[in-house]
């Protein structure tokens, strides 16, 4: 025991001397190298987006003549406006599906999260673990029966079917987030509310919901992006064009324009704009939501 200790002390003392000297010399080079590497990585990472933006505003002859990475000869803004007109019905459908889905998810999961976090009842831990497990259930396990169920209920090819399914799919994750968030709110607030004479619902609605604002904004941004970006349910639960979300729309658009890459790219840009705006405007909330979902784990 004593031997090891002394040995370790000696060797670490050596390391201090040599490394501090070495680090002093290397430091500026390391630093410069790191920054250069990071910028290079970021550029590579950004290439797909940059290329798409570049392609979207060019003409086909320009692309074939000068190559994909050349600066555009002329700006073809009409690509984008044409794509927008074409995508508009899909964008509308996506909005009609996404907004109520987000609202529904929020309401349902806040209530459940409040109960799981703040109330002590039998089966609570069990219930929580079921919800954690359900958040991992793959779509594939539900796709067929849900399709069948929606047909049986006469909801196939309606917005309702997609709204309900999105709420269902988001419940486990959203409840998890809300439970974890409410766990960080002192339980004393509920007790103070009880002593002040508030009913359970009043405590929930007038104390805990307002207090949950930071978690809610994170959850809204995340859920909006996820629901808006869903493709599979949009494909499975719809028939006519009118009820299809924009993710399905971009596929139809791609099929229509085949190798008119400037148009396909324009379509992609138009389809991506809503979630991009939300992401860029609320990046902080988005990131917080992602990391909140993973607390305790």
């Amino acid at each position: 025991m004593t031997d090891t200790t002394t040995h370790m002390t000696n060797s670490s003392a050596d390391v201090v001397n040599s490394s501090s000297l070495r680090e002093r010399i290397e430091e500026p080079f390391m630093r410069g190298g790191q920054i250069a590497l990071l910028v290079l990585l970021a550029l590579v990472f950004f290439l797909p987006v940059a290329g798409t933006l570049l392609t979207a505003i060019r003409t086909i002859p320009d692309i074939t003549q000068n190559g994909s990475w050349a600066l555009p000869l002329s700006y073809e803004w009409s690509n984008l406006s044409l794509a927008f007109m074409k995508m508009l019905p899909y964008l509308k459908a996506s909005a009609i599906i996404t907004l109520p889905s987000v609202a529904g998810t929020l309401l349902v999961s806040m209530m459940a999260g409040y109960a799981l976090s703040r109330m002590r009842f039998e089966g609570r831990i069990w219930m929580f673990l079921v919800i954690v497990s359900l958040s991992f259930v793959p779509v594939h396990t539900q796709l067929i029966p849900v399709f069948k169920l929606m047909s049986d209920l006469g909801l196939h090819d309606t917005f309702w079917a997609q709204i309900i399914v999105h709420i269902m799919r988001q419940i486990p994750f959203a409840v998890l987030i809300m439970t974890n968030f409410f766990n960080t709110v002192p339980g004393e607030l509920r007790e103070a509310g009880r002593i002040d004479g508030a009913s359970e619902w009043t405590i929930f609605q007038r104390i805990y919901v307002p207090v949950a604002r930071p978690a809610l904004s994170a959850l809204i941004v995340l859920e909006f992006t996820w629901i808006w970006n869903d493709l599979l349910w949009g494909l499975v639960l719809t028939q006519g064009a009118g009820k299809k979300p924009v993710t399905v729309g971009i596929l139809a658009f791609q099929g229509e324009y085949e190798i008119a890459w400037n148009m396909v790219a324009s379509g992609a840009v138009i389809a991506a704009i809503p979630t991009l705006i939300v992401f860029l405007a609320f990046q902080k909330h988005f990131i917080r939501g992602m990391t909140m979902g993973s607390v305790k784990g």
């Binding site: 990585l41 290329g51 990475w69 169920l149 047909s151 379509g267």
Partner: protein, 291 residues
């Protein structure tokens, strides 16, 4: 309100919605997988485990299973190592950090449909962004038929990995920020070199973040369906088919609901194999915290 009933009233909307539209279908999938149901209208007749037996001899399925295996391995390694390096670099750089972060996080805002469309164009022969880039850099020799039979699966994985790297970077950056600066300073005072500090302090303390990044990569790889659907539709000649996509095709293309359901069950069981230990560990932690 009755004190014993109250929690269940609050849970009720979640339980009802998930029960009818989520939990009941899960059981039904198992039930349908034991039938030869075709299409949605008429229920099939009970065939026991025949669908599963047939899967064992279904070359399409086995082929897709192999591709999914490649997905899993590639997804565990590539996005996570990339992300951890990016996170470390970002953490050590102050200049322009927020702009650079945004660049790395951006793919998260894009749907798989859009990622598929964009990368389809990137991989396009000759005029595609990738070939054009390689030509511009004088690396013509590296060009292959990106979405041809030999490379398609890997190309799709690369596109999805682009997005997954964004996710893992978010997670690892959060993990790095959660490490108290004091600990790293203490390690420095104790005479640790950069390398020692990284491997003996930083990396072990990133374990929670790694758990999340790894399990997310696993699940994404096992389920990859949407991006295959948009980029290649499994082709050419099934060279980029994965299990999840196979299930979608058998069900909604060939209308073999029973058969599709059995693939769905297999996907679920594969996921469960990874999820159950995770939830188990969580159960222990919760019992500690909540009792």
């Amino acid at each position: 309100m009755n004190a014993r009933l109250t929690p269940w009233l609050f849970l009720m909307p979640a339980i009802v919605i998930y029960g009818i539209f989520g939990a009941y279908p899960i059981f039904q999938t198992f039930a349908i997988s034991l039938t030869d149901q075709v299409g949605v209208a008429a229920p099939g007749k009970f065939v026991g485990l025949q669908n599963y037996a047939a899967l064992l001899h279904d070359d399409y399925f086995l082929n897709s299973l192999k591709h999914t295996g490649i997905w899993v391995i590639a997804f565990l390694l590539v996005p996570n190592t990339l992300a951890i390096s990016i996170a470390l670099l970002v953490k050590q750089t102050f200049w322009g950090a927020s702009l650079i972060k945004t660049v790395f996080f951006l793919p998260l805002a894009l749907s798989f449909a859009i990622v598929g469309v964009i990368w389809g164009w990137i991989y396009e022969p000759d005029v595609g962004l990738l070939d054009q880039l390689l030509i511009g850099l004088g690396l013509d020799g590296l060009i292959v038929e990106w979405l041809g039979p030999d490379a398609a699966n890997y190309s799709v994985i690369a596109a999805a990995a682009w997005r997954q790297t964004a996710f893992a970077t978010v997670i690892f950056l959060a993990g790095l920020s959660a490490i108290p600066q004091e600990l790293l300073e203490a390690a420095k005072v104790d005479g640790g070199t950069r390398r020692q500090i990284f491997f003996r302090i930083t990396l072990p303390l990133l374990k929670p973040a790694s758990t999340i990044a790894v399990s997310s990569a696993l699940i994404q790889a096992l389920l990859a369906t949407e991006i295959v659907l948009t980029m290649t539709e499994g082709g050419p000649f099934g060279s980029s088919e994965v299990v999840g996509y196979r299930m979608y095709m058998e069900t909604f293309w060939n209308y073999k609901f029973g058969y599709g359901a059995s693939i769905g069950v297999i996907v679920t069981l594969m996921t469960a194999a990874f999820v159950v230990p995770y939830v188990r560990r969580m159960a222990k932690a919760q019992e500690r915290d909540w009792s």
